[in-house]
């Protein structure tokens, strides 16, 4: 591999890149745990209720028949409890096992065998690319790549596919899926103090007011309209103010221009990322930007293209355009590379200057020497081999 990465460097990079890899399945585990607890609590209370009724009946002098039928009720509720409990625990266990699989994969970065380490690196790039493709909306490609690379377990495809469904339904101006998503994640959304439905107050205002900013920066005033706590009740949905307002939104949907829906989609996307503690840009993009900067030199962008190197990634067609707005690499120490051979010029291959000012490695000049003459590859001028002067680089 061209780039050397020591085990210590791999660990450092892991710390910076892999938060989503572990956090997203952990949040799923958390969610399933809470759901399991709710299920168990609910079924337990049903059982307790039925048993209380039975106890009450027993305290009077009951007919055996009524006791039997009440007992049947108890048996039924207990069976339901058992079934729900088993299902819930299975779901939790599954999430925990997924977390474990990912951690085990991450551990492989420090494997002793070089083959295993390079496989891990290749998978790392594939994983980041899959996440990037999912963010761009190329779901089929992402799934195909994940399958081909054998990393389906290690990427957060589920999360993005769920988001895709919500976004697509919003594009069709349907709110049901989005509402279901909100309900599903309401505890975490509440914690985030989302102003997701902050559009509502503005529906009576002229369309221009709602500045479609990124994130929540452009909508501070709207926070005040939203209560952070929604009252708990058996029929929760009707109490949630934003649902109610959104319902009004549905009714008035014909009156809203497409821009509002697009804003809603954007807002959903940002909220979804924040919910899972992801950034707005893919890790892939950020890594690539850093990498291109670290390789970029002024010579990749010389007007006449004379100093392009066939091996340099930044000199390649697409990446050259991509890297244009990025900063250059910082080099505190000289490093010289012979234009003919691509070899390093140092004490073993000293740099030699031809009379026209162009510098090549001594070994390369030897190899292109013919009849004691050399032809400068860049200007085609012919010189005597002896005219090459050694230069000293400190």
């Amino acid at each position: 591999m061209a780039v050397q990465e020591s085990a210590a460097q791999l660990s450092m990079t892991l710390k910076v890149q892999e938060y989503p890899t572990l956090k997203v399945p952990y949040e799923t585990l958390n969610k399933r745990f809470r759901a399991a607890q709710k299920n168990i609590d609910r079924e337990t209370s049903h059982v307790t209720m039925v048993v209380a009724e039975l106890e009450k009946t027993l305290s009077g002098c009951p007919a055996v028949d009524s006791v039997v039928s009440l007992l049947d009720g108890v048996v039924e509720k207990l069976s339901v409890l058992k079934r729900k409990a088993v299902e819930s625990i299975q779901a939790e266990d599954e999430s925990a096992k997924l977390c474990k699989r990912r951690i085990e994969h991450l551990k492989e970065h420090s494997s002793d065998q070089p083959a295993a380490a390079s496989v891990w690196k290749r998978k790392r790039m594939d994983r980041m690319m899959v996440e990037h493709l999912l963010r761009c909306g190329y779901y089929n490609t992402a799934v195909k790549l994940a399958r081909q690379s054998g990393i389906e377990d290690l990427v957060n495809i589920e999360m993005f596919l769920t988001a895709k469904e919500v976004e697509e339904s919003l594009e069709r101006r349907e709110t049901a899926t989005c509402l279901a998503w909100c309900h599903d994640n309401k505890s975490r959304l509440r914690k985030m103090k989302t102003c997701k439905k902050a559009l509502q107050p503005s529906r009576r205002e002229p369309a221009g007011r709602g500045a479609p900013g990124h994130g929540h920066a452009g909508l501070p005033a709207r926070h005040a309209h939203l209560p952070v706590q929604a009252p708990e009740s058996g029929v929760r949905l009707h109490r949630l103010p934003w649902f109610f307002l959104l319902l009004t939104l549905c009714i008035l949907s014909d009156l809203l221009d497409p821009a509002r829906w697009r804003m809603l989609i954007q807002q959903f996307r940002y909220d979804n990322y924040r919910l899972h503690q992801l950034g707005n840009n893919s890790v892939f993009t950020l890594t690539l930007q850093a990498g291109l900067s670290a390789i970029k030199t002024p010579q990749c962008y010389k007007e006449d293209g004379s100093s392009k190197s066939p091996d340099c990634p930044v000199c390649s067609r697409s990446l050259n355009k991509l890297a244009q707005p990025l900063p250059m690499a910082h080099c505190a120490n000289s490093r010289l590379v012979c234009k003919i051979s691509g070899d390093v010029m140092n004490e073993n291959n000293p740099p030699m200057m031809l009379p026209n000012g162009y510098v090549y490695g001594y070994n390369s000049l030897l190899s292109i020497r013919q009849d004691d003459k050399v032809v400068c590859p860049r200007t085609k001028e012919v010189f005597h081999f002896s005219q090459a002067e050694k230069v000293y680089i400190m």
């Binding site: 027993l58 266990d93 850093a290 990498g291 670290a294 190197s309 900063p327 000289s334």
Partner: protein, 401 residues
């Protein structure tokens, strides 16, 4: 990694707890159901006989009720107890992995450059997609590349795709131990392969020969006649040919039991794929690793370094230090293989040279930047800082690396 190990430990604890809880839950509920079932049977028979509820049965029933209530309530609270273990996992993850990348949704905290540098222009996104497609073709993931082209409505010229399609076809054949397409290719590119000093053709013939040998004495005649293909390589690969001819002696005995058993090693097949890929890429003027792979790998090295320095800059509140967005604030060590271009940093001013400030060779052979040279001029004369040789500033010659 130490912290990953910590997360794993917590996860293992949680998994263990789920396991024991699940078993316990199922078992105790089973027992309860069984017990209640028995009681119900007794009651049912009492109902049939028309007897009223006896006092003992009534007592047993109330005990049963209490037991049910206790069991299910304990189940609920036992599950609740697992919560602390689950949240410990989350905390371990937060400790182990860096906060820096998490917080970037607010602004360019983590952005080496502004986050919006590529988003702002739709075109840049298209170019990025193109780069990914090119990478996928080079990696041999043709179906994925096709899918991406379709989804992103990109058009890739056929001339770009063509060589990769061919290479992939040959590689797939090689993976199935079919040497035909590869040999065809090697023969048609013989001249250029020789220029590269590649021994691909010979290796392909050798593999075929070895495969014939593995067929046992029945294939002896075929093997011998195939050996004629080695003739053009006699000069360069004499030793290897001798080894193979020597192995014929053991044909009847079976090659596996002979000193030549290493010829049957399956690693040769993996090796031939690699050799083929390397030589084919050289011929096509491509590096084996796609430019995207190299850039990504270099980014993996650069990212933590840049984040650290950004954190340090912010902590020390000297944001003014890195305000010119045209150069990174710190050097990134990528290894010598990543030195694609010459970079000359003036040893005196410690700055990279550029077109406006080129490197100048002094008469003594030492090289400094023009700005440094100008700074060293003293009364129309110049003293080289390394060897105290006096010279004329005009004698300095501009050099180009």
């Amino acid at each position: 990694m130490e912290q990953c190990a910590c997360v794993e430990r917590e996860l293992d604890k949680v998994l263990q707890k789920f396991l024991t809880y699940g078993q316990h839950c199922e078992r105790s509920l089973e027992e309860l159901l069984h017990y209640v079932g028995q009681l119900r049977a007794e009651l049912a028979s009492a109902a049939l006989q028309g007897t009223p509820l006896s006092a003992t049965l009534s007592l047993v029933m109330s005990q049963c009720c209490r037991k049910i209530k206790d069991t299910v309530q304990k189940l609920a609270s036992d599950h609740k107890d697992i919560h602390s273990s689950v949240s410990r996992v989350g905390k371990a993850i937060d400790r182990a992995l860096s906060l820096l990348l998490r917080q970037n949704f607010d602004s360019e905290i983590c952005g080496v450059v502004s986050d919006a540098v590529w988003d702002a222009r739709e075109q840049q996104q298209q170019i990025l997609q193109m780069a990914i497609v090119e990478h996928l073709y080079q990696q041999g993931m043709l179906s994925v590349a096709e899918e991406l082209c379709q989804e992103s409505t990109l058009n890739v010229d056929l001339d770009f795709k063509q060589p990769f399609l061919e290479l992939n076809r040959i590689l797939e054949a090689l993976h199935e131990q079919d040497l035909g397409p590869a040999l065809e290719w090697a023969v048609s590119h013989r001249q250029r392969l020789l220029e590269l000093n590649s021994s691909l053709e010979f290796k392909l013939h050798r593999l075929h020969f070895i495969r014939l040998l593995a067929g046992g004495p029945a294939k002896q005649l075929e093997a011998l006649s195939y050996a004629r293909h080695f003739q053009p390589f006699a000069r360069l690969h004499q030793r290897e040919i001798q080894v193979m001819m020597g192995s014929l002696v053991y044909l009847r005995l079976g090659l596996e039991k002979s000193p030549y058993c290493h010829l049957l090693d399956s690693s040769h097949w993996a090796e031939i794929c690699e050799t083929f890929t390397r030589d084919a890429c050289s011929l096509l003027g491509l590096s084996v690793e796609s430019p995207l792979s190299v850039s990504f790998a270099s980014g993996c090295v650069a990212l933590p370094v840049l984040m650290n320095i950004k954190a340090v800059i912010e902590q020390r509140q000297c944001t003014g230090v890195w305000n010119h967005k045209d150069e990174l604030p710190i050097e990134i060590e990528l290894g010598m293989k990543c030195w694609y271009h010459s970079v000359f940093a003036c040893p005196i001013l410690r700055q990279q040279t550029s077109d406006s400030n080129p490197p100048i060779k002094l008469i003594c052979g030492h090289v400094i930047s023009r700005d440094a040279l100008n700074k060293l001029i003293n009364g129309g004369k110049l003293k080289c800082p390394y060897c105290p040789m006096e010279q004329n500033p005009a004698d300095g010659k501009r050099i180009i690396f």
